[in-house]
C-alpha cells in the first residue's frame, strides 16, 4: 500500500470534514492535522531522493502548521470569545455535497492534463486541486473571519501539495519563502481578526458592509 496514497486519503477526509463541520475548535484541529500530514508528504513522495533538504522542509512545515498556526488561531478565537454558531451562506449538508462535486471535477480536470511520469501517486494532482477548490469554497461560503482564514490555509495546503508532488525541482529557497509568507499572512490575519473583534464585537465578515457603491 502506497504511503503517499494514505496521506492523500487523509487530506480528502480532512477536507470533507471541514466542509461539513460547524464546530470551530474541531475545524482548527483538522486543518492542523492536515498540515502535519502534508508535511510528511515530501519525505514520502521522494523516498528515492531522500535528503536533508526534504527533512528540513518537512520539519519546518510540521512545526509551523501543526503547532504555531493552531496555537495562534486558538488564541485569536479565545480573544474574540466566539461561541455562537453562525450559519454560513451555504449550509453544511450542501457544502458536503458540493465537496463531492468538487472532488469529481478535480478528477475530471486531471484526466485532461498530461502528467509527468515520475509521479509518486496518480492521486496527487486531483487531491491537490480538490484542496484548492475546497479552500476557495470555504472562503466564499463562510461568514466568520476565522473560518475564512482556515479556508485560506486549506487553499495553501492544496497549492503546496501540488508543488511538492509535481514540481520538485523548485528550489528550497522558494519553498522556505512560501512557508514564511504563509506564516506572516496568518500572523497578520490573526492580528486583524483580533482588531475586528475589538472594533465590532463580532467576527462575522458578512456584517462588514459599510463600504460599498
Amino acid at each position: 500500500m502506497n504511503n503517499t496514497n494514505i496521506i492523500l486519503i487523509l487530506v480528502v477526509l480532512t477536507n470533507l470534514k471541514l466542509l461539513g463541520s460547524s464546530r470551530l475548535g474541531a475545524s482548527i484541529r483538522v486543518v492542523a492535522m492536515q498540515g502535519v500530514v502534508l508535511g510528511l508528504l515530501p519525505v514520502l513522495a521522494h523516498t528515492n531522493e531522500l535528503s536533508l533538504r526534504y527533512a528540513v522542509l518537512a520539519a519546518g512545515t510540521i512545526a509551523l502548521k501543526g503547532i504555531v498556526f493552531p496555537w495562534f488561531l486558538f488564541r485569536a478565537v479565545r480573544e474574540a470569545e466566539v461561541t455562537r454558531e453562525v450559519e454560513p451562506y451555504v449550509g453544511y449538508v450542501t457544502s458536503l455535497l458540493a465537496g463531492v462535486l468538487i472532488l469529481a471535477v478535480s478528477f475530471w480536470m486531471c484526466e485532461r492534463l498530461p502528467m509527468p511520469e515520475t509521479l509518486a501517486s496518480s492521486w496527487l494532482a486531483p487531491v491537490a486541486f480538490f484542496s484548492i477548490f475546497a479552500g476557495l469554497f470555504l472562503i466564499v461560503s463562510r461568514k466568520r473571519a476565522v473560518n475564512q482564514v482556515l479556508g485560506f490555509l486549506v487553499l495553501e495546503n492544496g497549492v503546496y501539495t501540488f508543488g511538492v508532488g509535481l514540481a520538485p525541482h523548485t528550489s528550497l529557497l522558494v519553498e522556505a519563502g512560501v512557508l514564511l509568507d504563509v506564516f506572516v499572512a496568518v500572523f497578520v490575519m490573526g492580528i486583524t481578526i483580533f482588531h475586528i473583534n475589538r472594533e465590532f464585537d463580532h467576527i462575522e465578515t458578512n456584517r462588514l458592509s459599510t463600504l460599498k457603491d
Binding site: M1, G20, V93, F107
Partner: protein, 302 residues
Amino acid sequence: MNPESFIPLLLALLLSPLLPGIINRTKALFAGRRGPPLLQIYFDLGKLLRKGAVYSRTTTWIFRAGPMLELAAALAAAMLVPLGNFAALIAFPADFLLFAGLLGLMRFFTVLAALDTGSSFEGMGASREVFFSALAEPALLVALATLARQAGSFSLSTMLGQVSGGHWLHLGPVLALVMIALMIVLLAENERIPVDDPNTHLELTMIHEVMVLDHGGPDFAFIVYGAALKLWLLTALVVGMVVPATGASWLDLALVMGGMFAVAVIVGVVESVMARLRLVMVPQLLVGAGALAAAAFLLGLK
C-alpha cells in the same frame, strides 16, 4: 441450483436473531450488568407467536398486512446475499439494486402500517425514518457501486466473494472508506445509536420504535424477526467486504461467521460508547457517509 447455495439463506434464517442478542449482551457487559441470555430473542419470538393480537378500530387491512409484507420482503432480500464462498440463492447482474429496492420495500410497508393507525406519533416517526433512509440510500448504492467497479462484476455474489487480500493491499484506503460508509448505513438502517436509540420510548426521540408501537403478538414477532434479518443482511455485506477469500469454503464460512459476530460486538460497543446524535446532526452524518462513499468511488476510478 446446487444445495450449497441454500446455506446462506438457511444460516440467515436460523442465526439472525442471534445478532441482536449479542448486541444487547455487549451493551449489558459494558454497563456492568450480566445482561439477558444470548438466545433471548428466540424466546421472545416464541412468546409473541403464542399471544393474541389487538387491533384498533381506526386501522384497516393495511395494518394487518404490513408486518407480513415486511417479512416477505426481508426473506426475498435474504435470498440475494451471499455468505463466504457460497453464492446466494438468486444471483444475477445488478442484483444489488434489487437488494436495495427490497430493503426499501420493507421500509415502505412499515411506514404504511404506521400511518394507517392515524396517530401523530407514528406519523412523526414515519417522516423521520423516511427522511433518514432517503439520505442513507445513496451512500449504500454508491458504496456498492464502488465495490462493483473494483470487483468488475455487478452481482452481489461475485462482488463480495472475490474481495481478497490483493484488493486490500492495492486499494486499502478505498475499501476502508467503503467499509466506514457501509457501517454508518448499517447503524442508520437498523435503528442503532448514533442515529436512533432502540431502547427509548420517549415520544419525541423515537424513530423506528414508534412505527411499531401499536403492533402486538404475531405481528410484532414478524417485525422483530424481519429487523433481525435486515441486520444480518447488512452485516453480511460489511463482513463480505472485509474478510478475504481464502479459497477453502468451510474455512471461509467460519471466518465469515466470526466476522458477523465481531461486527455485532462492535455495534454493541458503539452503542455503549456514544450518545445519540441530535436530530439535526443526523443528516450531516448520513450525507458524510455518502460523501465518503463518493470519494471512495472517485478514488477507485483512477
